[in-house]
C-alpha cells in the first residue's frame, strides 16, 4: 500500500489531501501518478502538471524514482517558503 499526499494549491484543486492505493511494487513515482489518475481521471489537468514537485518518503525526487510498498509519495506545487 502506498500513501499519497497532496499540498497547497494542488490539495485545493483536487479537494483531497491524499489517498492510499494498493499497486504492484517496485514501481516509479510516475506509475503512482498514473494509478491515481486511473482512479480519479477528473484530476488530470492538475495532477499531470509537469511543474509539480514530487517527494518520496519526504525527500524530493524525480518522477523515475523507485517506490516500494509502504512508501509515502507526495505531490505539490513549487515551494514558496522563506
Amino acid at each position: 500500500m502506498i500513501n499519497i499526499v497532496f499540498f497547497a494549491q494542488l490539495r485545493e484543486q483536487l479537494k483531497s489531501d491524499g489517498l492510499t492505493l494498493t499497486i504492484a511494487t517496485p514501481c516509479t513515482v510516475a506509475d503512482v501518478q498514473q494509478a491515481v489518475l486511473k482512479k480519479h481521471p477528473q484530476w488530470r489537468d492538475f495532477l499531470a502538471n509537469p511543474a509539480l514537485m514530487c517527494a518520496l518518503n519526504q525527500d524530493i525526487v524525480p518522477l523515475d524514482a523507485q517506490v516500494l510498498d509502504g512508501n509515502e509519495v507526495a505531490f505539490f506545487p513549487p515551494v514558496t517558503g522563506g
Binding site: Q9, F76, T80, G81, G82
Partner: protein
C-alpha cells in the same frame, strides 16, 4: 535526519521568535568565531502586484524538518560553520510579522555570508512550505519566482562537485 551538532538549532513553529535570543545563542561562549551573519524574512505588504494584508503558511509536516536539516548539513559540509540556527514559522501571519530566521557563526566572514545566503536560497526552492497571501483582491497562492531558481544554479556552478 537530525542535526549533528548541539550548537545547531532547527525549529518549525507557529510561535514568533526573538532575534535577540537567537543572536545570543550564536554568540555566547563562542570566542573562536569572529563573524555572525543572519537573515530575517518578514511579511511585506506588496508582493507580485497585490496589496498583501496577511499570510497563511502551509507545510508538509513530516518532511519540513528533514528538508531543513539536510540543507544545514550541506552548508556545514561546504563552509567552516560553528553554529547554525534556523527557524521557520507556519500558520497564520500578519503583515510585518517575522517568517524565517537563519543565523550562522564562523571564524571567517566570507564563509558566514555565503553559508547564510546558501541556506536561504536552498530553503526557498527545496523546503516544503507554501505561502497563501490574503490580499485586497482575495486570497492567492504565491507563485514561484524564476529568480529563485537562478539563485540555486549559482551555488551549483560555484560548487566544485558540480562543475
Amino acid at each position: 535526519m537530525t542535526l549533528s551538532s548541539p550548537y545547531d538549532f532547527l525549529s518549525v513553529q507557529e510561535a514568533d521568535f526573538d532575534v535577540a535570543h537567537e543572536y545570543a545563542q550564536l554568540r555566547d561562549h563562542n570566542s573562536q568565531d569572529g563573524a555572525i551573519v543572519f537573515f530575517s524574512g518578514l511579511v511585506r505588504d506588496f508582493n507580485q502586484g497585490s496589496d498583501v494584508t496577511g499570510l497563511f503558511l502551509e507545510h508538509y509536516p513530516a518532511m519540513t524538518e528533514k528538508a531543513l536539516a539536510g540543507i544545514i548539513t550541506q552548508a556545514k559540509q561546504r563552509w567552516p560553520l560553528s553554529r547554525v540556527r534556523l527557524i521557520h514559522r507556519v500558520g497564520q501571519l500578519q503583515l510585518a510579522e517575522q517568517i524565517v530566521f537563519v543565523g550562522v557563526s564562523s571564524s571567517h566572514r566570507e564563509a558566514a555570508f555565503e553559508a547564510c545566503h546558501f541556506i536561504m536560497d536552498y530553503l526557498k526552492k527545496q523546503a516544503p512550505f507554501w505561502k497563501k497571501e490574503t490580499t485586497r483582491q482575495g486570497p492567492r497562492w504565491v507563485e514561484t519566482l524564476k529568480k529563485d531558481e537562478e539563485a540555486l544554479h549559482k551555488w551549483q556552478q560555484d560548487d566544485p562537485k558540480h562543475s
